[in-house]
Point group: C2
């Protein structure tokens, strides 16, 4: 029976027009990345699990797509598990047969849990791969499970009194129970050693460390590849989507923050998207404020509350802060923050007042000042730089500048880009003290904004420009010679593959050209072949003229 | 502890130079696809498993990368299994308590296996997803397993005599045994509903059927995306690699075969790879020969043997055919085939002799003749079309033309492209009688050939063209204004981010420019700023000149 075709939820097919529009955005971004001196790299779609796991917090880890090991992935695991349980049971049996004292038994169990991992390691029949199985934990879980069963009188009795038959049965019981209760704990990691890329930043950090000897630092790289997240699919949120990232690693210079603001401005201007707002903040400002109001230990609570200012208003924000244990006296000190207004410089002045006692805060102000002055002096084409002290995205990893770009006023859309500086990008992979700063473009949202504002150029989805009607094999061959010349001249041209039979199907071919919006159609019959001309029909105006091959090429180019 | 970074075997990182070279091949192919009127589509990286499974033969299915369902994927499965086993046991227990007759017991078991799937379906506590679990098979397996255990006297005794305690224990035993013996059979499909794309053809067929109402047929599409195969990695064989495919669906016209030969010729000529050999064959020729020699039922054996002619020679091929049961009289009729030589036309004449009694064979000759005459008349730029009756790739699915492209003579490399016609591409997804024909380019091998022959243009890996030395913040700002103008003029330019401190690190910046092969460096100090000039250093010749901004842009463009 035929399958009804569908694709997994959260994924998308892209038709020719969508591919063309997406490629237009990609190539615009790419071309700007290149003029700024960024170089492309690409990394594999899947990484070793341990490269990705533990880098995105608990929530992120859960959203990583894991790839099942190939082949008969589970038999090895099961065999090892059965053998381990049996081995443990044999040891217990030998002990129980000699000792029946309850206290001694307990002691034996405790001791056994400690030596069991080593017993497993030495046994040549058991081949647990310790890269994916923690033998200490496994040993403890197996032993505990066995203890539970041996506490059941009727089983213990059978077990001790009888031969190997009961030992095997008990092994299977414990194996089953173990699977039932703890299956998920071990088997998941054991049967999956690879995972799909969750973002481009962690693979980039891995790349930098792995290839550090081939790289000249500072390394300016860009990367435009899909990432995958097992998020609940919803409008505008997909399980497969592209990220477009540019990062510099290996330099603390603030000139890079300046350049990234210019880069945002250049890309959005090139896309015709004028009036974007580039919001900037600095983690040091947020830390400084937290310090000043006596909430240094509550930085996250504080910023999470502050981040909601736009949505819930001043009073609710204050309530939330109080609720999180930030003292009223501290919140009072924040008052100037709630009425922060005016241009970049004016806001900086207010911040200077608030942060006068915080060294870290003052450092943050200094950085913002430097960046703002440079941008003022260099000018932006169409974007506006705005200080936003409530901006707290990526606070878990950003250590300096924080960026976020909003679509022009009037377009309802979340951020269309974001980024920041992270003091230690590569430390987790063993390369310490390498500072990085980077930005990202949100392709899908930019696509929606350009669509909404009608900013895609009309020509980008341009496909075939000239189609030749196929009147028959002789005519087709004659036409293909012209098609060849047109293609050599860079014109997208094609011959309708099926010929007209019994004078029929001519309309079908014209309809095809119409529906595909092919602007020119060429008709060649006996007469045209004899006189080496082409009847050129303009599908928009309906005009028809007889032209030479040369004139044909000129007319459609 | 820091992780030592690595990537999964069979996958690759691409550095900036490699990305540039790969993109050069991609964009050359893409540009030719477009002049031929092909339109791009993209499909998701992963498909529903049932879209892919069963389409590539047993061997192919094994090589498909499966994605683990997200979340706690195994608990549901385990709970359902436990409940099912317990439900079956309760039924057995009720029956056994009433009947002890052995024959009746057997009958009950057989009958139970038949009704059990329905029992499971009706039980609201058990929620097996029948898209991934075959309940008939599962019911039978569970029942058989139970039967085995109830045949063990000591268990049966406990089970019948006692209360639910033993029923639970027995459930766990059977659950464990089931997992141990049959875990792989069910759990693999249950915990994975998605799989990574194995090729572009099946997803394309799925796309065509799913979007048939939006598509104008004949549909000429191209697709350039990665595919994944769990193949054993070895030199030149990767687990992630790109395919570049162009196909037409919805037309039987042989003009398409003609166009695909032109397309191959155009692409390889555009890449500077002259002298490629486009081999062509036709499945109908192979079927015809098999028919003539009385081996119609041994088409695969026959073609597999014939395919080895180049490698093992005439005698061994004949031996293999004999061994496979092809009669000597038939093999004798093949004699002209072994000495097949001369140009396309000459070979066609010999084939006409061999195939005079086969209708299918004659149809194959007619098709080859048509294609060859058209190509002779249209001419090829640098490739050569060659008839190769031993060519049998993809015989499982190709029904007409078969293509394969070899690198120019002297380059040791397998095929760098291939394709063919398949009469029924989309039937498996419910759209019958849609013929397709397509070709594919082998990116990785083309890359190696271009590298070996030194055919990559020197300019493609071009990165930054001008770098400004960073003498300090004042100078940097001055420089960034020039950088901005250069970028606006389309020149890739950058400022070294870190400034020289205490007159040091100048050499470091120059070294950086050297290693990155940046051709021009600009130096701006106090003097330059005062007079608004730029000291331009040519890094290849070492020449240094003072120029205006305008002259700078002209000089480096």
């Amino acid at each position: 029976m035929a399958q009804k075709p569908s694709i997994p939820k959260g994924t998308r097919d892209f038709n020719p027009e969508q591919v063309a529009k997406r490629n237009y955005i990609f190539s615009t971004i790419k071309s700007q990345f290149q003029t700024f001196g960024f170089q492309p790299i690409e990394t594999p779609s899947f990484e070793n699990s341990d490269t990705l796991m533990g880098k995105y917090g608990e929530e992120g880890d859960r959203l990583i797509f894991k790839i099942l090991n190939s082949g008969d992935f589970i038999s090895d695991y099961n065999n090892n598990l059965i053998k381990s349980i049996k081995l443990a049971l044999r040891n217990f049996k030998a002990f129980i047969e000699k000792n029946s004292n309850k206290a001694e038994k307990e002691g034996f169990f405790d001791n056994f849990i400690n030596v069991f991992p080593e017993v497993l390691r030495r046994n040549k029949e058991i081949k647990f791969d310790e890269r994916s199985i923690n033998l200490d934990k496994l040993s403890s879980d197996i032993s505990t499970k066995i203890q539970t069963y041996l506490d059941k009188d009727f089983l213990l009795e059978m077990f001790v009194e009888d031969d190997d038959r009961y030992l095997t049965t008990l092994t299977i019981i414990i194996f089953g129970d173990f699977y039932y209760e703890l299956g998920n704990k071990y088997v998941g990691e054991y049967i999956s050693e690879k995972a799909l890329r969750y973002d481009l930043t962690v693979p980039f950090a891995r790349y930098v460390v792995q290839h550090q000897n081939e790289i000249e630092f500072p390394f300016k790289r860009y990367q435009m590849q899909p990432v995958w997240r097992a998020d609940r699919p919803q409008k505008g949120r997909f399980r497969e989507f592209y990220q477009c990232d540019a990062d510099v690693v290996g330099s603390d210079s603030l000139w890079q923050e300046v350049e990234f603001i210019q880069l945002y401005d250049n890309v959005f201007t090139a896309l015709g998207l004028k009036g974007t707002i580039i919001k900037i903040n600095n983690r040091k400002i947020l830390s400084g404020i937290a310090e000043v109001i006596g909430a240094s230990d509550k930085l996250i609570d504080f910023t999470v509350a502050l981040d909601k200012l736009d949505k819930i208003g001043e009073e609710k924000v204050k309530e939330e802060m109080l609720g999180k244990g930030i003292p009223q006296s501290g919140i009072d000190k924040l008052q100037p923050l709630f009425s922060l207004s005016g241009d970049f410089e004016a806001q900086i002045e207010i911040l200077k007042g608030i942060l006068s006692t915080s060294e870290e805060g003052k450092k943050g102000i200094e950085e913002l000042d430097f960046i703002n002055e440079a941008i003022s002096s260099l000018g932006l084409q169409s974007a506006k730089l705005q200080l936003d002290v409530t901006l707290a995205r990526g606070l878990n990893y950003y250590t300096g500048a924080i960026f976020e770009v909003s679509a022009p006023e009037g377009v309802k859309m979340g951020s269309i880009g974001g980024g920041g500086r992270y003091a230690d990008l590569t430390g987790v992979f063993g390369l310490k003290n390498v500072s990085g700063v980077g930005i990202s473009f949100g392709l899908d949202r930019i696509y929606l904004v350009l669509e909404e504002l009608g900013l895609f150029p009309e020509t980008i989805a341009k496909s075939t420009e000239v189609m030749f009607i196929n009147f028959g094999d002789k005519e087709a061959l004659f036409c293909l010679k012209a098609v060849k010349s047109l293609r050599e001249a860079g014109v997208n041209a094609e011959l309708y593959p099926d010929k007209i039979t019994n004078g029929k199907h001519m309309k079908k071919q014209m309809n095809y050209a119409n529906k595909r919006e092919i602007p020119f159609v060429v008709l060649v019959g006996e007469e045209e072949m004899n006189t080496s001309v082409y009847t050129l029909k303009n599908m928009i105006t309906g005009d028809q003229t007889k032209v030479s091959l040369e004139a044909l090429i000129t007319a459609v180019k």
